[in-house]
């Protein structure tokens, strides 16, 4: 049973690391439907670790705390089940799969998701119709579908492809891991506009970024600053602008002084 306004994601006192090294040391976060959250932080603060743990990448040890996704224990689920349940990760470095046609890949993925949700699988014709609609959101050319997954794509094309996949798979929770990295300003705008078009009242977005500039295009409801494995500060969009102006050092010193 779904509760009214039940959070999509609840992270409670999450501690995690890699090979004995502590990275996350007590992260707390609640994301509700319709919200856009941004996580910012200096390099090495644990931003990408958090994304990886949410998606279920191997090699991370969760030592304490819990993560609930629509009330369910997310960490118990295999990565593909999380994906089918509606958790989507836009990769910082999208992976190339040579020889595998993009259409074929995405159709297989979508049909796994649909099966999981009790929907009928789409045939080739239905899928193509859907995909053509979604391609408009990202201003993609049609030959894109015939190319192998990410192979030979430019940095910008890879990132656009991530958001395109997100458009097709319609996740509940989209985690965008440094989606702005390596994008020029035009590509950034296209990608950000794509993300904004996919936002609606029932889903949520968690945008991970080092720089403020992405948040000129994707307007967050909340901005969290991750430092030393904890959320050091939470605010609204103004916090991001302040960080841009004063740098992470300002905040970290400030936190230290108040501690």
């Amino acid at each position: 049973m779904k509760l009214l306004n039940q959070p999509i994601l609840e992270i409670k006192d999450l501690h995690a690391g890699v090979e004995g090294k502590k990275i996350l040391q007590g992260v707390n976060l609640v994301i509700r439907p319709g919200e856009v959250h941004a996580i910012m932080g200096p390099n090495g603060s644990g931003k990408s670790t958090l994304a990886a743990i949410l998606a279920g990448r191997e090699g991370y040890d969760v030592t304490a705390g819990e993560v609930l996704y629509e009330g369910k224990d997310l960490l118990e689920l295999d990565p593909e089940i999380r994906a089918r349940e509606g958790v989507f990760l836009a990769f910082q470095y999208p992976v190339e799969i040579p020889g595998v046609n993009s259409t074929y890949f995405l159709k297989a993925a979508l049909n796994e998701v649909r099966k999981h949700r009790g929907l009928t699988e789409l045939d080739a014709v239905e899928f193509l119709a859907l995909v053509k609609e979604k391609m408009k959101i990202l201003a993609l050319r049609e030959d894109f579908l015939k190319r192998p997954v990410n192979e030979g794509f430019s940095g910008g094309e890879k990132k656009r492809n991530e958001i395109f996949q997100m458009a097709v798979l319609e996740p509940k929770l989209a985690v965008l891991d440094e989606t702005d990295s390596g994008l020029d300003i035009d590509a950034l705008r296209i990608v950000a506009e794509g993300v904004n078009k996919l936002k609606h009242a029932d889903n949520a977005q968690l945008v991970i970024t080092h720089y403020q500039r992405l948040l000129d295009y994707i307007i967050p409801d909340f901005v969290h600053v991750l430092a030393d494995g904890r959320i050091a500060r939470t605010g609204d969009r103004k916090l991001a602008l302040e960080l841009e102006e004063k740098g992470y050092d300002w905040l970290l010193k400030h936190e230290l002084a108040s501690a």
Partner: protein, 482 residues
């Protein structure tokens, strides 16, 4: 949290679908090899004297040879005196005159293998010669092919019906002295397929031979001879399976192709001999010599192989590019899982002017499999403007397997151009995770990634078999990572 590796581990036991034994009464020679056995085989086949002489010559030469030690494979010595060299299902009375007279048990066997020996149904456009242990049990579509002048029959029948053609071409591409296993095969070969495409004929359907080893402790030694006369064209496919047994069985075949002026032969193999179990018990030793001679101008020979079976594979389908402007191609996917070992590749020997060759080799090693590419590109002094392009890729799945590449290049003509590219990649956990994150299971992800990697080769296969090959790769890959 269950990791991708755990998920993959769950697939550890993959089933070899073709491991059953057909309970059929057979007639076998006693184990061991000597001149009497060879005379027995020749007599069983009612062969003319020239065949017996040729066999004995090969046998005597074989006695002077040593088993090759250079392949990158390890196995205990083969006891050639413990192998049975002739085994055939017993027939009541005369040989069957048509498919209707073939023992139903044998027909059923091929039915189970997915190769119905009926001239309709799924393989309606493909003529099949079915070889069971040492003999051919039936050939489909012979009559239709004969209308076009195409001869397609068992080797035994060819020796009886067309001895002049056999005498003319036998051993001209792979001489009986060629190598240890080719010499052995020349002495004891018991059957195989014979195809002759006359001048100017485009063979109206795919020709194929399906090899099945059934009897225990028996070796299979077949010989295939394909001759394409001037301007003719043929596409040929062979498939192979064997029961699951704990002992190793020997398969030493010879395939000879000859293409005359403007002729084209396309030879495809889907090799799925029993590979042994996960611990490396049993499986077929596949020691095969395949060679094509582009004898005429503008002739073309193309080899495509998908090798997923056998405990050990030792095989180098090659092209001798003798005619000017002739073309040789080699497209290969070789997969070794569990404890399989493969040492496979090709030889392209350029003799004629403007000859060109292409080599695309895709090796996949999983489990504790060992996979070697071994290839020779040889440009003779006479081969003005010869061209070769080679691409040898290796993919590793897991951390206990191995991939090796042994390219040999000999160039004696300065106008030629030889290009060689090689890559080795590990199937990325990143790639698998990426697929997982989009909702695909790990096994589906591995299959998809490997099929993508092999795409260039699969697209060379005849349509009917490309899909089969993809599925086969999927089955062979089960339990491949961990």
């Amino acid at each position: 949290m269950s990791t991708a590796t755990d998920t993959i581990d769950e697939f550890v036991q993959s089933d070899y679908k073709y491991g059953f034994v057909t309970d059929v009464e057979s007639e076998s020679a006693p184990p061991g090899l000597n001149e009497d056995i060879i005379r027995l085989i020749s007599a069983k086949k009612n062969e003319p004297q020239f065949m017996l002489d040729w066999r004995l010559k090969a046998y005597r030469h074989w006695l002077t040879m040593k088993e090759p030690a250079w392949p990158q494979v390890k196995y205990p010595p083969v006891d050639f005196q413990a192998t049975i060299y002739y085994s055939a299902p017993k027939q009541r009375g005369d040989a069957p005159k048509s498919l209707d007279e073939v023992d139903p048990k044998l027909l059923e066997t091929y039915e189970k293998l997915g190769i119905p020996l009926r001239e309709r149904g799924r393989l309606a456009g493909v003529a099949v010669d079915a070889v069971f242990d040492s003999v051919s049990v039936g050939t489909t579509f012979k009559a239709q092919l004969a209308e076009k002048g195409v001869l397609f029959c068992s080797f035994t029948e060819a020796v009886q019906e067309h001895p002049e053609l056999v005498k003319k071409y036998l051993g001209t591409v792979v001489p009986h002295t060629d190598n240890f296993y080719a010499a052995l095969n020349s002495a004891v070969f018991s059957d195989g397929s014979f195809c002759f495409i006359p001048k100017g004929v485009r063979c109206p359907m795919e020709l194929s031979t399906y090899f099945r080893i059934n009897a225990a402790k028996t070796g299979q030694f077949e010989r295939t001879l394909i001759v394409a006369e001037e301007g003719s064209h043929v596409s040929y496919l062979e498939g192979c399976t064997a029961p699951m047994r704990d002992e190793n069985q020997l398969h030493a075949a010879v395939v000879e192709l000859t293409a005359l002026d403007n002729a084209e032969i396309k030879y495809s193999t889907v090799q799925n001999w029993y590979p042994g179990d996960a611990e490396g018990r049993g499986g077929i030793y596949n020691f095969v010599t395949k060679r094509g001679l582009c004898k005429g101008r503008n002739s073309k020979i193309s080899w495509t192989q998908v090798e997923t079976g056998s405990a050990i594979t030792w095989k180098y389908p090659s092209c001798i590019l003798q005619g000017d402007n002739s073309v040789g191609e080699f497209y290969s996917v070789a997969l070794t899982n569990h404890r399989q070992q493969a040492d496979t590749g090709t030889k392209m020997v350029h003799i004629g002017k403007n000859t060109s060759s292409t080599i695309i080799s895709k090796g996949i090693s999983a489990g504790r499999g060992q996979n070697s590419y071994r290839g020779l590109v040889k440009i003779q002094k006479s081969a003005e403007n010869a061209r070769n392009f080679s691409q040898c890729d290796s993919m590793l799945i897991g951390s206990k397997c191995g991939a090796h590449t042994f390219p040999y290049i000999e160039v004696k003509n300065t106008t030629s151009r030889v290009e060689h590219e090689a890559t080795t990649s590990k199937i990325g956990e990143d790639q698998i995770f990426y697929c997982n994150q989009r909702g695909l299971s790990t096994q589906d992800a591995v299959n998809m990634i490997v099929n993508g990697y092999c795409k260039e080769v699969f697209k060379q296969l005849p349509m009917e078999f490309a899909v089969e090959a993809q599925k086969l790769l999927g089955v062979s890959l089960e339990g491949s990572v961990g």
